[in-house]
C-alpha cells in the first residue's frame, strides 16, 4: 500500500487495483486515463483538510472506496466525468469523529454515469453536501445515503441533483435512509432536485426513524436476542458499501469487518 504524504497528482495509466493511505496533505488529484478501468481503496488518516480533484477521461471507469478513519476531517471533493466514463464511489465512516464533506460530481459529457454510496455511523457532528450536476445529455446519477445516528449525533445531509439545460434524457435518483438509535440526537436530510430540462427522470426518497417494532419482533420470534436483532437491522445500513468494489478479497474483508462488529 502506497502512503501519500505530499501534494500529488496520481495518474492511473493501467487497469488494476490500487491502495493508498493519505495523511496530512492538502491536495490530492487522481487522473484516470482514457479506456482505463481502475479500482482504488483510499484510507484517510489523521486530521485532514483535503482538496481532492478527480478526472475520468472518456470511456474510463473508476470504482473507489474511501474509508475515512480521520480524527476530524474537512474535505472538498470535485469529480469531472467525461464521455461514457463510469464512476462508482463509496464513502465509509464508522468513526465517532467530526466530518465536513462536500462532493460535487460534474457529468460533463454524454453518457457519463456516477453511483454514490455513503454509509456512516455518527455520534458527533457530520455534514455532508453531495451534488450531482448533469451538464451533458444521457447522463446518470444515483445517490444512496445510509446513516445511523447514535447519541449526540448531529448529522445533516444535503443531496442535490441538478439537471442543466441540454442534459436531456438524463436520470438523477437519490435515496437517504437514516436510522436513529437515541432520543438525544439531531438528524436532517435535505433532498433537492433542480431541473432545467424536459425529457428527464428524477426521484428522491427519504426515510428516517427508529427501528421498526414489528421487524424486531419478527427477528426475535426466531430466537434472535433483542441486541442481536438490532445489530442485524443496523447491518442493513452498512452492507451496501461492500458492493462498490469488484475486488472480492477487499469486499470479503469489509463484510467480515462489519459482521464481526455485529457479532455474527
Amino acid at each position: 500500500m502506497e502512503k501519500i504524504t505530499e501534494k500529488t497528482t496520481i495518474e492511473i495509466q493501467k487497469d488494476g487495483y490500487y491502495e493508498y493511505t493519505v495523511e496530512t496533505i492538502e491536495t490530492l488529484s487522481f487522473h484516470v486515463l482514457k479506456n482505463v478501468h481502475a479500482e482504488i481503496k483510499l484510507i484517510l488518516k489523521g486530521s485532514l483538510e483535503l482538496q481532492q480533484d478527480i478526472l475520468l477521461e472518456p470511456s474510463s471507469s473508476l470504482h473507489m472506496l474511501s474509508m475515512n478513519e480521520c480524527k476530524d476531517s474537512k474535505m472538498n471533493l470535485t469529480y469531472h466525468l467525461k464521455k461514457d466514463s463510469e464512476l462508482k464511489i463509496g464513502y465509509y465512516e464508522l468513526n465517532e469523529n467530526t466530518c465536513d464533506l462536500k462532493a460535487k460530481f460534474y457529468l460533463e459529457e454524454n453518457g457519463a454515469s456516477v453511483d454514490v454510496v455513503t454509509t456512516s455511523i455518527t455520534s458527533a457532528k457530520k455534514i455532508y453536501d453531495i451534488g450531482c450536476i448533469h451538464i451533458a445529455a444521457n447522463t446518470n446519477s444515483n445517490m444512496s445515503n445510509y446513516e445511523i445516528s447514535k447519541q449526540h449525533a448531529n448529522y445533516k445531509i444535503t443531496a442535490c441533483g441538478t439537471i442543466k439545460k441540454g442534459a436531456y434524457q438524463s436520470k438523477s435518483h437519490q435515496t437517504s435512509r437514516i436510522l436513529t438509535l437515541h432520543e438525544d440526537q439531531r438528524s436532517e436530510a435535505i433532498p433537492v432536485l433542480l431541473i432545467d430540462e424536459n425529457d428527464v427522470e428524477a426521484s428522491h426518497a427519504n426515510s428516517m426513524g427508529k427501528m421498526n417494532a414489528e421487524d424486531l419482533y419478527y427477528l426475535q420470534s426466531r430466537g434472535i436476542s433483542d441486541e442481536q436483532a438490532k445489530e442485524l437491522l443496523t447491518m442493513s445500513y452498512l452492507l451496501p458499501i461492500t458492493d462498490v468494489l469488484d475486488n472480492e478479497e477487499v469486499n470479503a474483508e469489509l463484510v467480515t469487518m462489519i459482521r464481526s462488529r455485529m457479532g455474527l
Partner: protein
Amino acid sequence: MRKLVIKDLYVSINDIQILKGVNLEINNHEIHALMGPNGQGKSTLLSAIMGDPKYRIDSGEIWYDDKDVLSMSVDERSRAGIFLGMQYPSEIPGVNNSDFLRAAMNARLEKPISLFKFIREMEHAVDDLGMKSDIAHRNLNEGFSGGEKKRNEIIQMKLLKPQFAMLDEIDSGLDVDALKIVADAVQDLYDTQDLSLLIVSHYERFLDLTKPTHVHILLDGKIVESGDYELVSKIDNEGYEWLYTKYGVEKPSEKPALVLESCGANR
C-alpha cells in the same frame, strides 16, 4: 413431557378485549386446528403465545414444558421450542435471508453451525419447499410474493426445528400445488420429529392434508366447541352460522361498502 397449557387467558389490543377466557391444553405430538369466523381472536391467541408486543395480556396463564411463558421474552420463547409461522411476515430490507437464518440457528446452539453444514441444510429446505435457490441471498421477505413468504416461514420452521409450532393461515395465498408442498413439508416434520402443532386455517383442504387430532372453534374470544376431525367437515358443510345462534353471539355486522358518489377530479 412437553405440554402447552393455557388457563383463562384474557388479551386485549388498543383497549379492545379480544380474548375473554381461553383455556386450552396441547399435549406432545398432537395437531390442533383452531377454526372460527374472522375477527374472533384466532390470530390474537397465536400472537399472545409468541409474545407479540402489540397485544396486552390482561390476565391468565400460559405454560409450556412447565415453564411460565408469559414471563419469557419473545426470543426466549423461540429458543424454548415455540414457533409461529406468521400470517403476514415482515419484509426486512437489508437483512439477508441466510444471515438471518444462520443467526437464528446459532441462537439455539452452543457451538455455531459450520458454514458448510448450514448451506447444505438450507439448500435441502429450499429444495423441499420448491423454491429457487437464490432465496438464500435475497433480503428477508423483501419483494417476495404472498406464497413465497409463506413458504419461507416453513423453511425457517424446518431449520429451527421447534417442538411446538403454530401456523397462522399459512395456507392463504398459496395455490393448490403450493398448498400440497407446504402441507407435505409440515406433515413430514410432524412424522419425523417430536412436534406438536396449532394450526389456524379456513380451508378444509389444508386440514384434510394435515389431519388434526383435535379441532377447536373460537367464538367471541372463547373456545366454544372442541372435537375431532368431524368438526372440520361440519364447518365445511354448514359454515359458522349455527354457532351464533347456539351461543347467542351477535354476528359481526358487515361493513357497507364505501360508495364514491362523485369523484372530485370529474367535477
